[in-house]
Symmetry: D2
Subunit: 187 residues, 4 copies
């Protein structure tokens, strides 16, 4: 059976150049099933802090562009670290801007979440907060297998943008396959 | 019995000029017990998005100033709306910056949370996410009575910076008294 | 277009005879779309507290029966109050038992949550905790519109098992229609 | 300086005989500071499921006894596994019963939480749900260091009721010292 092509986009929650999560995100396209194309969205780091007055003046151009890319995608993958037991402020700020777009880019959209940390909890606390946000955004959050990479700093090659730990790479592959099947199911 | 003087600072999670929460925050000093001085911290709206590379270049001046004000205060009051079922990105971003300060301004600090919304849930979802963040920050979150103001838009005078609904004003007074006693207890 | 028949089952989180939530649950079948049959599952109140040693002796008969009913249903509706800002212990205990069943009754199952309270928050805190549990159970939680009935005590007729407030009844109707469409979509 | 004596009680969330958490709880008294006495409360496993009708008939004897023990203690330690990404139903059921006691045993009480799991997340999801419950109960939840023991099955001797891993034992010692100082501070 030929599977229909799927187009996933990736939103990245960390901004620094040597980010483990950025390396992780860069590795995703090569781990995707054959019918799945994965593109990394532009950075959310240049956005101003959401402010109702600024909003009244219109949306920043990157918000519009990211919103359109999500709207037209078959699924969204959020790759992010946890900051202070919750969603990084910058990622949440991007979601706050995007949530006001009239085209409601998240509505009915399949969403996968991936996180890691140098320690063992691996972003779990961020993931459940993000899931609660996704309820308001009316997205359909993918459940399992959950991707929480403990010791992520030892499992990626930051310069090459690769996952170097084979078990991790295979697990991410399996997640992407399951997420693709999920996106297909609810398309 | 004379109570010792207490110095509380207020962090505001919403940025627009006509904000109901800003009006609410402005009303707090006049509702505080006689021994309690309440000061509103400077805006968190001009901060850049937290970024490990930017951090390596040093802290923005407002982060340092806010951090020092919290560190030397007897308690922190966070007044904030809920955005997308969680903490506003801008507020979380400020906490992300502040959390990296070497003087750990939140550690052992009594924290009160106040929120409202035009609808009935009144920021509850934001409050419990913020409480989880406060665990990491090692703050001591005040419990009850919780301040969640349903229909906040009809209970404040935005221009005057006042709480116009008497029941609400009295409830906030009672909360501030209880929070002051709590801050006193753990001083 | 004829819609295919759907079979939903209802798990009830409160046990007392005069329960507002029991009345609410009883009202659901008459508010369902024509193609949807809704059945209330047997009580979870007689279960023993989950215990690994008891589990080793086998599953209680009601756990097996409830598990089979959920497994063969097209969707599950949980109707429950909030106890102490979270899931009632009895409901969580039932889920703990059911989660160990080898047939994994929740896996891939569409789940809707409905709650209310005499006060304004209306079970919101219970709902997000339950959603986190549903992630582990690999269920697919329906998002919106969320059913959180403030002032539920004034909106149901406990003796008749009816929703007496028309706005509420219509809202629940709309929710059931949307949930049925969701269950159809991911079938 | 002589420290005043402190009396802590332990509530255990798992019931089976060979429980890792039971072994962990049994080890606590020997790891406590000299001025701290730790007693394990009676089992919560024999309680019926909370039910408003049953409640109207009075409290079960164990609920009254546990409530009095907590009320007169200087602090409560909850030792529990995580079930299905949340609080075990049996533990939550005990809290539901206890929360209705007229003497409000949790009000203003310092509470520490300890958990573990064979895997890496180590009960974190249970802990944050429990913290939310503690807000309603008006308890004062201790923050850090948090005790989340990954791989708990390899770190306790179930028969002897001991923590066999030295790093873990020392970490628990440090936690108990910090919790005792916290309980002292807010006494």
């Amino acid at each position: 059976m030929t599977k229909s092509p799927l187009n996933f986009v990736v939103m990245l929650g960390s901004l620094r150049k040597g980010s483990f999560h950025a390396a992780f995100a860069k590795a995703l396209p090569s781990l995707a099933p054959a019918n799945v194309k994965i593109t990394i969205l532009q950075s959310i780091g240049q956005l101003s802090i959401y402010d109702g007055d600024a909003h009244a003046d219109g949306f920043p151009a990157p918000v519009v562009a990211i919103g359109e890319a999500i709207k037209s995608a078959d699924g969204l993958i959020v790759v992010s670290p946890e900051y202070n037991y919750s969603i990084p402020g910058g990622l949440k700020n991007a979601l706050d801007w995007l949530s006001r777009l009239p085209n409601a880019p998240f509505s009915g959209k399949p969403v996968s979440i991936m996180s890691g940390s140098p320690g063992p909890i691996a972003g779990a606390r961020m993931q459940y907060h993000l899931r609660q946000v996704l309820v308001f955004l009316d997205a359909i959050a993918f459940t399992r297998p959950e991707v929480m990479i403990a010791g992520i700093n030892g499992k990626v090659d930051v310069d090459a943008g690769k996952i170097t730990d084979e078990t991790t790479a295979n697990f991410v592959k399996a997640h992407l396959e399951a997420f693709a099947a999920f996106a297909e199911r609810i398309k």
